[in-house]
Amino acid sequence: MNFKNFILSICVLVFACFLLAYGETGFNLDHDLILQLRLPKVVVCLLAGGMLATAGLLMQIFFQNPLAGPDILGVSSGSSLFVAFWMMASVGFSQTIIDAGMGLMSFMGAATVFILLIFFVHKNVSRVTLIIIGLLISSFASSGISVLVSTSQALQLKNYLMWSMGSFRDVTNPELPKFIILSLISTLPVLFFIKSLNQFLLSENYAKSMGVNVKKMRLIFISLAALQISIITVFCGPVGFIGIISPHLAKQFLKRSRLNILLPAAFLIGALLAFIAETVLVLAPSSSISINAILGMIGAPVIVLYLYRQREWSV
């Protein structure tokens, strides 16, 4: 194992142990407290943070665009729009149908945006244009959401507003196994495609010239990233910035790009960012900061710094 990845794993472990032992009530090893509240929170941070980072990395390689990410390309908001639509439309259905529909709609929203983006990539839009298109998709989705919100009733509105805040704390023990299984289903397969991802590092054409079935791999990458993003959207709400900045932080830290070591590092850094956001919430219990606010405070400067260092970044 790479030494730097080992260090990252230790950091993740330290944070996990800290958040298991320490909470709003201080150092307290009460059984119920750890099992009911802290354990699900720590597991969700680890997996959701890691999955967001993985999805971000997949998108950056796939679109050959260092600014790609679930939020910036509008995939998260596409997913949110479909979920919001479902929340408002599913009044009166049974809980099982509502839950199942949420997952399906979330995935369809993410996949729809991906298909749109691929369409534009194939029309040879520049990398900056793609980002702008992504931002426009985001704002279209937000507008769609506000139209839905303005026509909906108080109850659905409240549910939606709660969900749209984003939280790593709303997966509870009975839901936790489902979340873990879905996370693993969407993340573990990525390990089998590390070789192809490495080949994609150069470009789609080079990958093809090295025997990669580009169409098949494209479908696989997109499905996995869409699945990851939609799982997070359903269980945690929209969570920003981890997806786009984790791959950059991982590269800066490792000074390596090969996916064999970059992927684990990005996953671990994604988890670390989630842990850091949760730790801030634990240390400031009475404030009403949301995780998205904390992540934005970390994420936006990181992106600006990256752009500043890459001044010659060509279009």
Partner: protein, 357 residues
């Protein structure tokens, strides 16, 4: 000679006008007992109503020639547009339901006394054209849709009879309920409203006094889990005050009007059993509650004896009468809460809004 006569007449008429419009010496002043944000001054031919920093001149004479910057409202109101369900119980109590011709969000109206076919749905963001078209003689709304200066300017230039209601800024349940007299003043029905309000406040005071003699103060938990936190009402909110007046002890009491976020860890440290849990969620049955509790195992962190929700009376759009009549009748609400906290004393009380899950 003609000129002299002209000046004489002019002087006479303007002094008459001045007498008619003497705003400095009201004949009578009404200062509410509990409400802090309005007052009424009575003059010979008109009255003025002050709400916060705005004043309105109410008169039955449409040609009253007062030179004033106040918005003039012709009373008694016959065509009324309202923006909040909390104003509606007043119309019922003073029996003027038929004057309501426009409302923001008709689906929120729970009471069956209103004829929906005669009421136009108006948008939350006031549309001046729409309102002009309604030919209303009173449009009553609240801060968030009335305080935009640009809009205020438009209302004024169109002479729209817009009036601000600040009942939501009151800091006590009775203060809020006392706005019945404010609304009644636009119908010249203050005396009737005053009688109704006296009945409400007397009853409230009586129940409160009765409860204060009871030795037992049950532990009351308010709220639910949202986004990984226990979200509850502030201790100084209406509900907080009423729980105290109903002889209960509110858990996680904080001296604030605002909604409070309590960490679930703090909640789990609550080792004493909760006597009454007032959930203001959407659950209407035990089954729904159990389903939710099964999905969110964190509810099992606390031991709860009795669970009540406030949604006995809801319309087909799930709008809750608690936020309509409940706000106007703190006496009945206090009765409900007292019966939940002290079932032995209030055996015969039939619950209005609360019901056991």
């Amino acid at each position: 000679m003609k000129t002299v006569l002209f000046f004489f007449l002019f002087g006479l008429s303007s002094s008459l006008l001045a007498a008619e419009c003497d705003l400095k010496h009201p004949v009578k002043t009404f200062q509410p007992r509990f409400a802090k944000h309005y007052a009424i001054n009575y003059f010979k031919n008109f009255k003025t109503v002050r709400v916060g920093s705005s004043q309105y001149l109410l008169s039955s004479n449409s040609s009253i020639g007062c030179e004033t910057s106040m918005n003039k409202i012709i009373i008694p109101a016959k065509r009324v547009v309202m923006m909040s369900t909390t104003y509606l119980p007043t119309l019922e109590l003073i029996q003027r339901e038929d004057t309501l011709i426009g409302f923001q969000g008709k689906q929120y109206i729970v009471s069956s006394s209103f004829n929906h076919d005669k009421i136009r749905d108006v948008s939350f963001k006031f549309n001046p054209e729409d309102l002009l078209n309604l030919k209303a003689d009173l449009i009553m709304g609240y801060d968030s849709n009335l305080s935009n200066p640009a809009q205020v300017h438009i209302f004024k230039s169109l002479n729209l009879p817009v009036v601000m209601n600040k009942d939501f800024e009151e800091t006590s349940p009775l203060g809020r309920a006392e706005w019945i007299i404010f609304i009644a003043s636009f119908y010249d029905l203050e005396d009737k409203a005053q009688k109704i309000f006296n009945m409400i406040s007397d009853k409230y005071a009586f129940i409160k006094n009765e409860n204060s003699k009871l030795p037992k103060r049950p532990k009351v938990l308010v709220g639910e889990i949202q986004n990984g936190y226990w979200v509850t009402s502030g201790g100084k909110s209406d509900l907080g005050q009423m729980i105290a007046d109903a002889g209960g002890e509110m858990l996680f009491w904080k001296p604030s009007m605002q909604t409070q976020k309590i960490s679930l860890e703090e909640l789990s440290l609550l080792k004493i059993p909760v006597d009454v849990w007032l959930t203001h969620n959407t659950w209407t049955s035990r089954k729904q509650l159990e389903e939710a509790r099964r999905k969110d195992s964190r509810y099992s962190l606390i031991t709860i004896k009795n669970i009540f929700n406030n949604n006995s009376i809801i319309n087909k759009h799930n709008s809750n009468d608690y936020w309509e009549t409940g706000m106007q009748r703190p006496d009945l609400l206090l009765q409900d809460l007292s019966a939940l906290f002290h079932p032995d004393k209030y055996v015969s009380h039939k619950l209005h809004w609360y019901h056991k899950l």
